[in-house]
């Protein structure tokens, strides 16, 4: 399988991660099509999300990298990684992330924009960039989009902090 070999290459390369990606690995090494990822945007200093830990689930289609991976935030409390010694936030208030499903609205993950030159690592990096660059004009979370349109920084900050500190 082409996709399997390419994923194996990415697995070998995943020892070399940027600081804000704490973990990027298949859930089970015998199945390279489901990966688990934990991000912590601490190093992007003026991020609203810098204190949070988030878990992403990555499903990879059989004809990857022709088709994009399906990446979403894990919001099911029962499924999060409890072995890690930090608290993973399962409520993500963000204009482009569905609060109830964890779905991410990001153009490069859509079939008509995705390019096979992207890797899992670079796609996760794009999600980290999305966290700090909200796009209120194509929202999945209308309430957050409204706050961003009003540019109510105080409200935005306190809502995000509330959820990061209370999950």
């Amino acid at each position: 399988m082409t996709s399997q070999r390419r994923l194996l290459k990415e697995l070998h390369d995943s020892s070399n991660l940027p600081e804000s990606i704490l973990y990027l690995h298949p859930i089970d090494e015998s199945n390279l099509y489901i990966w688990n990822c934990i991000i912590h945007p601490e190093n992007s200093s003026n991020s609203y999300y810098k204190n949070g830990y988030f878990q992403l689930k990555i499903k990879i289609p059989q004809n990857y990298p022709i088709d994009p991976p399906i990446i979403s935030f894990l919001i099911d409390k029962n499924k999060i990684d409890k072995n890690k010694n930090f608290k993973i936030c399962t409520n993500i208030p963000h204009c482009n992330i569905d609060f109830k499903t964890g779905e991410i609205c990001l153009d490069i993950l859509k079939k008509n924009i995705w390019s096979p030159a992207w890797t899992l690592k670079s796609a996760i990096q794009a999600i980290l960039i999305l966290l700090d660059n909200q796009e209120p004009d194509s929202p999945l979370n209308v309430d957050m989009a409204n706050l961003f349109r009003l540019n109510d920084k105080k409200a935005i900050e306190s809502i995000i902090n509330f959820y990061i500190n209370n999950t």
Partner: protein, 130 residues
């Protein structure tokens, strides 16, 4: 740079020990004889690197090096359905990005754009690595 050594050490420029010679004599004899070089290159080895005149060395689609066959051909070599060096040429686009011909052919069925710069893909040349 001090070439002559002091009398205590008693060695001349060529490194031969000569305890009686003082530094002044050393200077006189230097003027008579043609000056010997302190360093002499006896042997040198030239090292050169080469690479294709192209913007990328790796195929961005399968991540194999462009000098090696694509992942699909590697698979065939491994499972024995191909025995010899596979015919896996390199395709260069008008944007000067290169991919394996096999890889880019699969991709452009999905969208006719260069995976690296999203411009419309147009084939400039096909180069055989064999």
């Amino acid at each position: 740079m001090e070439i002559e050594n002091g009398p205590e050490q008693g060695t001349d420029v060529n490194g031969i020990s000569n305890p009686e010679k003082n530094s002044e004599q050393a200077q006189n004899s230097e003027e008579n004889k043609p000056k010997k070089k302190r360093f002499e290159i006896k042997r040198w080895t030239a090292v050169a690197f080469w690479s294709w005149d192209q913007t990328n060395e790796r195929c961005a689609i399968c991540r194999n090096h462009l000098m090696e066959p694509c992942i699909e051909c590697n698979n065939k070599l491994d499972n024995g359905s191909l025995r010899d060096q596979p015919d896996c040429p390199r395709a260069v686009g008008r944007c000067n990005h290169s991919f394996h011909l096999h890889c880019i052919s699969t991709w452009i069925k999905t969208r006719n754009s260069c995976p690296l710069d999203s411009t419309e893909w147009a084939l400039k040349e096909v180069v055989n690595n064999k």
